[in-house]
């Protein structure tokens, strides 16, 4: 199914969870923030939070800034 991941359309497996998605992208979960359809999803929900077709998923991190 297609989702919008960080503004880019991507094909992901149906019923993929946030945790699985991050693992597939080799992203260390400790350092990122996940926003699905404009709502921040708490870390403890990532193993069970299923992403749906056309969801807008943002994976964000804290960077240096002024």
């Amino acid at each position: 199914m297609k989702v919008l991941l960080n503004g880019r359309e991507e094909d992901v497996p149906t019923s993929v969870t946030i945790e699985q998605l991050l693992n597939s992208k080799k992203i260390t979960p400790g350092a990122v923030i996940v926003v699905v359809n404009s709502e921040v999803v708490k870390r403890e929900l990532w193993p069970d939070f299923v992403i749906k077709e056309q969801d807008q998923v943002e994976v964000i991190r804290i960077v240096g800034g002024g």
Binding site: N6, T28, A31, V59, G64, G66
Partner: protein, 255 residues
Amino acid sequence: MADELIIGDKALTSRLFIGTGKFASHELMGQAVSQSGAQVVTVALRRVDLDRPQESELNYIPAGCVLMPNTSGARTAEEAVKIARIARAAGCGNWVKIEVVTDQRYLLPDNYETVKATEILAREGFVVLPYMNPDLMVAKRLKEAGAAAIMPLGAPIGSNRGLKTREMIRILIEEIDLPIIVDAGIGKPSEAMEAMEMGAAAVLVNTAIATARDPVAMARAFSMAVEAGRMAYLAGLAPTREFAEASSPLTGFLV
């Protein structure tokens, strides 16, 4: 009595805030912040580069620092509010530096959108520190909107050109009953010291430290300058005169 700067629920003893961008490495950033004694650091939120995930700067920021996420990238009040809410929900605390910029040449802030964002976020319980173009009427609006401090620019972001807006900042310090924190443009410790001598509550420095040849030593230099400037302000600067006034007695000359 300790000379503390109270903002929100924090009592700060360091009046140097540091921006964490542009450092050559995360390690250097961490050392510079730690050597300067800064207690407030700004950070930004960005999308992860999914093709090249990187380690987080957060691991290098000394423990105990207040994190102040900025809303850089926001072009409207609405976008700034969205970024601030994400930062808070992600556990960055409730401080936020509002930065709304549409001008890409000078990166000057949009004061109008900044007031709107301040109003919304202050109502939601954020400790709001708006970055603004120094204008007395806007500063008054920001205070009414619930800002915890006002952060006027000295010169365009990253320009290292110093206190070009000196007179306007002086008026804000005189007229606005909130901490005035000079943000952006400060390029040298002497300029940070001058801002502090004028009565600024603090200064926020990033580029001048991060891009110095030795950022750690420069962070220390800024820290000392800010402390000296604050001490001078509290001591009360002596008056200036147009003509000379002898410092030695004018009686009992030997010749």
